[in-house]
């Protein structure tokens, strides 16, 4: 067993173990953290496949942004664990069906050789990032742009659906605060000099 195979199997073991933790962990925060570990290990496996751009993007997008927001929500919600577990038996048939379908799909992919990608390793100076970029912006330009527009519409829709204005909330207007001038806050008053020193002393 050479070093690369050893790394592959140890990463694979960590990935499977953390994947199992995601579904078995009692505490949702622990489950989310296990998912983070799963993503990170998957990125490691991709680096082993010399797909460094995809691997780094996985870490940047999923680990660095998506999972942070996930953790945010999970930590803020006061989850009632017993209530969550109540429907376990009624949901079981559906869950088993979905799991069986996924298992079936994965075995067809792994054994069907339809995704056979026994590609030769690339030469030393090969830049994954550059190849991906030029392919995305030439051959797949229109699908890429369409996907971008759909994502943009989804963002706008998500904001439009969730944004509600309550009439009775009080909030600050930062634009007005920033543009405030000295004259708005300070009033200069011309006054005569203080009275004579003896009167001040006598008051004390």
């Amino acid at each position: 067993m050479d070093f690369e195979t050893f790394v592959f199997y140890s990463f694979g073991a960590i990935l499977v173990a953390s994947g199992l933790r995601v579904v078995t962990a009692r505490n949702p925060v622990h489950a989310a953290l296990a998912l983070v570990l799963a993503f990170f290990t998957a990125a490691g496996l991709w680096i082993l496949l010399e797909a460094e751009f995809l691997a780094i993007t996985l870490v940047l997008v999923y680990v660095g942004a998506v999972m942070v927001l996930f953790l945010f929500v999970v930590m803020m919600l006061d989850l009632n664990l017993t209530k969550l577990r109540e429907g376990f038996w009624s949901y079981l048939p559906v869950a088993v069906t979905v799991a069986a379908l996924m298992g079936f799909e994965m075995t067809t992919v792994l054994y069907g050789r339809s995704f056979g990608s026994q590609g030769a390793t690339e030469p030393a100076g090969y830049s994954n990032t550059k190849a991906l970029g030029s392919l995305l912006y030439t051959q797949y330009l229109y699908p890429f742009e369409v996907a971008a527009v759909i994502l943009l519409v989804a963002i706008v829709a998500a904001i439009a659906l969730t944004m509600r204005h309550r009439k009775d909330t009080k909030y600050q207007n930062p634009a007005a605060q920033v543009s405030v001038k000295r004259q708005d806050r300070v009033r200069m008053v011309k006054m005569k000099a203080t009275p004579r020193a003896e009167t001040l002393e006598s008051q004390e």
Partner: protein, 343 residues
């Protein structure tokens, strides 16, 4: 000499040599962190007409070592009801990415641990991992103050990461590369060829986002003493607490280093003529990093703390639009005959 060791160690040579190089980066970095804390106290002291630490050693030079020893001696208290495993892991999760990012940082055209193609992306990915240390520390402490601090800090880091990433997109567009050595070499030819000039708005956005990302004043609401005591690390003591600070200062040095490499020409001299080229490139880089770090300390001594909603407004409503506009502008200029302006 190298061949001799290679002969003795045989197959173990590669990992051992890599380890030696890692130590050669981490050890000076840790010393740098220790003396950055000293410099911070001295510089802010002088700015506020005080003397700063001057008791331990000559002019207080041993102060950071005394501080480190004191923290080492202290007990690490784990609060009751805390999630123990995560509580211990959090400081490690904070410092690991802060150190891992240094793997691709070049110190001269040849001195770099790993000269990878997607170096800039790697650094972005590593710095985006740092937020986990904060979130987990806040959550695992089982304390309201720590949790509030963690939430504030995480939201702040995630927001400013976007502006920071966009600022870096401008740099890679101008340099046509993600490799840090290539980016520095694209800026060859003196101070007017460095990217701070054509990419001035991005430089400013990058540096301020860097200050916000490292939770430094004036963006240190995560540890605002007057409101939430010390934020996410309020329950930490002893060395666990010190590790958070090591990570913060290592991140500061990293931001200063990247700002010097990406916008201030790295190891390139001020002007490529005789008296300037006599100074070795490494010293130029060191000088630029020291200058950027001074800006960090200066900002802390000068500005009052931002209010939380103002921080969010600055990140989302000012910095992101500015970077987006400048990226489009750079892209347009690159299509015209005036592309020498940015390249």
């Amino acid at each position: 000499m190298m061949a001799f060791w290679q002969g003795i160690l045989g197959i173990a040579w590669t990992p051992v040599w890599a380890l030696v190089k890692i130590i050669a980066i981490i050890a000076p970095l840790m010393i740098g962190v220790a003396y950055l804390t000293y410099a911070e106290r001295k510089v802010i002291g002088y700015m506020q007409v005080r003397i700063g630490p001057n008791r331990v050693g000559f002019k207080g030079l041993l102060q950071p070592i005394a501080d480190g020893l004191k923290l080492l001696m202290k007990e690490i208290v784990v609060p009751s009801g805390a999630s123990k495993g995560l509580f211990v892991v959090a400081p490690m999760l904070m410092i690991a990415p802060a150190l891992a990012a240094w793997a691709v940082v070049p110190f001269s055209p040849r001195m770099v641990l790993a000269n990878i193609d997607a170096g800039l992306l790697y650094i972005l990915a590593m710095t985006s991992m740092g937020v986990y240390g904060v979130i987990i520390a806040g959550w695992a402490s089982n304390s309201k103050y720590a949790f509030l601090g963690a939430m504030r800090s995480a939201a702040q880091i995630v927001s400013y990461e976007i502006a920071m990433g966009f600022a870096l997109v401008g740099v890679l567009m101008a340099a046509h590369s993600l490799n840090l050595i290539d980016i520095v070499q694209a800026q060859r030819g003196g101070v007017f060829h460095w990217y701070w000039l054509p990419l001035a708005p991005l430089f400013v956005v990058y540096f301020i986002s860097g200050v916000a990302e490292t939770n430094r004043a004036p963006f240190d609401v995560a540890e605002g003493e007057s409101e939430i005591v010390a934020g996410f690390h309020v329950e930490y003591s002893g060395m666990a607490f010190a590790v958070f600070f090591l990570a913060e200062y290592a991140n500061m040095i990293l931001v200063a280093m990247l700002a010097s490499l990406l916008f201030l020409g790295g190891w390139e001299p001020l002007f490529p003529v005789a008296p300037f080229t006599w100074i070795p490139g490494f010293l130029w880089l060191l000088g630029k990093v020291a200058f950027m770090l001074l800006l960090f300390l200066w900002a802390r001594a000068t500005f009052p703390r931002y209010r939380y909603d103002q921080i969010m407004r600055l990140g989302w409503k000012v910095f992101i639009p500015v970077t987006l506009v400048w990226i489009v502008a750079v892209g347009l200029v690159l299509q015209t005959p005036y592309r020498y302006l940015v390249h």
